[in-house]
Symmetry: C2
Subunit: 263 residues, 2 copies
């Protein structure tokens, strides 16, 4: 079933002087399995396999890249660990998607004290295009003045206003995102981004602080002015570690906490 491997691989066997190299010129130099990982990531990024799709089997990939199954396996191991793909024994390996229960809480760390997790409802206050302020442009790796989509919303947990969020999204990627579309789409925004803008969030970096609610924020979250709120400033990245979203959330932590595991 496995394809024959007539020529040994140049990386595994560099003594084969001057042989025709098949792969070596992919990145600079790294182990074979990492080069394979790069090739697979490339296919994910290019959309050869879309979120939810099944990847070719390990043996097929091994044949395609002319390496052993074990090497493909090690590449996929790392991708699975980074949550880019998802393995299911007996079924196959699948491109990760935000349309899964498991993915919901990867980027949503706010937990209720009660243990009862309600999925939040969103109310969008503003959705518009504007020119990126300097700070936003810097964080999203844009030129100052480039277009961004700006969103402001309140999230209700069990009908209680709990989160006030502002988002700045790369304007070129999220062109055409409207309030109507956001309102009719139920479920996490990242699901919408994936479906309609071919953009999957891979990882994010947050800076968390405690701040005092200013009068406007206080009225939206129905607390007194100067009430302490948790502020989370997040930059999210898609394939290729490209920043595409800046988000600033203000969380009311009277009935909820931000959960974090230190490993």
């Amino acid at each position: 079933m496995n394809a024959p491997l007539p020529d040994s691989n140049p990386d595994a066997n560099p003594s084969a002087a001057g042989g025709t190299t098949v792969l070596a010129q992919v990145p600079s130099f790294s182990p074979l399995y990492r080069q394979i990982k790069g090739l697979i990531t490339g296919s994910l990024q290019s959309g050869e396999w879309k979120p939810g799709d099944m990847l070719p089997s390990e043996f097929e990939l091994a044949a395609r890249y002319k390496v052993s199954q074990g090497t493909v396996r090690k590449a996929i191991d790392e991708l699975a660990q980074e949550h880019l793909v998802l393995r299911r024994q007996g079924k196959g390996t699948f491109v990760a998607t935000h349309h899964e229960a498991r993915a919901q809480f990867r980027f949503l760390r706010l937990m209720p004290d009660s243990g009862q997790q309600y999925y939040p409802e969103s109310k969008f206050l503003e959705v518009k295009r504007l020119r990126a302020p300097g700070e936003v442009a810097r964080l999203l790796d844009l030129k100052g003045g480039d277009a961004v989509v700006y969103i402001k919303r309140v999230q209700y947990f069990n009908s209680v206003a709990t989160v006030l969020e502002e988002l700045w999204l790369s304007g070129t990627i999220f062109k055409g995102l409207t309030a109507e579309r956001l309102n009719e789409y139920k479920g996490p925004m990242y699901g919408l981004f994936e479906l309609e803008f071919n953009t999957t969030m891979i990882r994010a970096s947050e800076k968390i602080r405690a701040v005092a609610a200013d009068p406007q924020v206080a009225s939206l979250l129905q607390v007194e002015p100067n009430w302490p709120l948790l502020s989370a400033e997040r930059v999210s990245f898609t394939y290729g570690d490209k920043p595409v979203e800046l988000r600033r959330g203000l969380y009311l932590t009277s009935q909820h906490y931000y959960s974090n595991e230190l490993n």
Copy 2:
């Protein structure tokens, strides 16, 4: 060099009916490499190899447990990923210790806006033994009324009071911990715990909120009353997922932020 493997392993080869099993009765049932991982963890826990020590080489361990080097390798892979051991190519595999630069910031997520990371200085306000309040006992898996060591301290970053912390430590493990010892020990507390109490923190779980400074806290951190502070309630675990420390920190986040990566 490698020891011979006359009998195949029962897990790898269950058709060997009724053969004398060597390993299988360790946990219930799990893959061989996970059983090996358990045995290695056991030796870490029992102190056969202490923090900073080098583990036997993969081949030695393979011989000891009568499995292949690849299986030992996979066990160690997981331990390395959980930061229980640390691999150094060409040198060996070492028991992780808190006395390393890399380990310092694993449990210290407070970063300065300036980028300049000063190592904090501690001032201990209280160190005493007391009976665990119900909530503390519950989180540390103790009986209500069991002895705990209570510590209260302020941490100064670049001479600015930034963190007010209270700790509750399992009384049996940390018997004999005194203010004098804490004051003369420079460096992170977890280093002291490891050296003098044979207790290595393996992981921790935090609940983070925004709270208002009460008058006493405000005066210690030199802010106005009701100033917003970040509260982090942490439960730390040693080997065997045993909780041994409860810590509640109040962070002044005017010049610092709590850094978190979502993966």
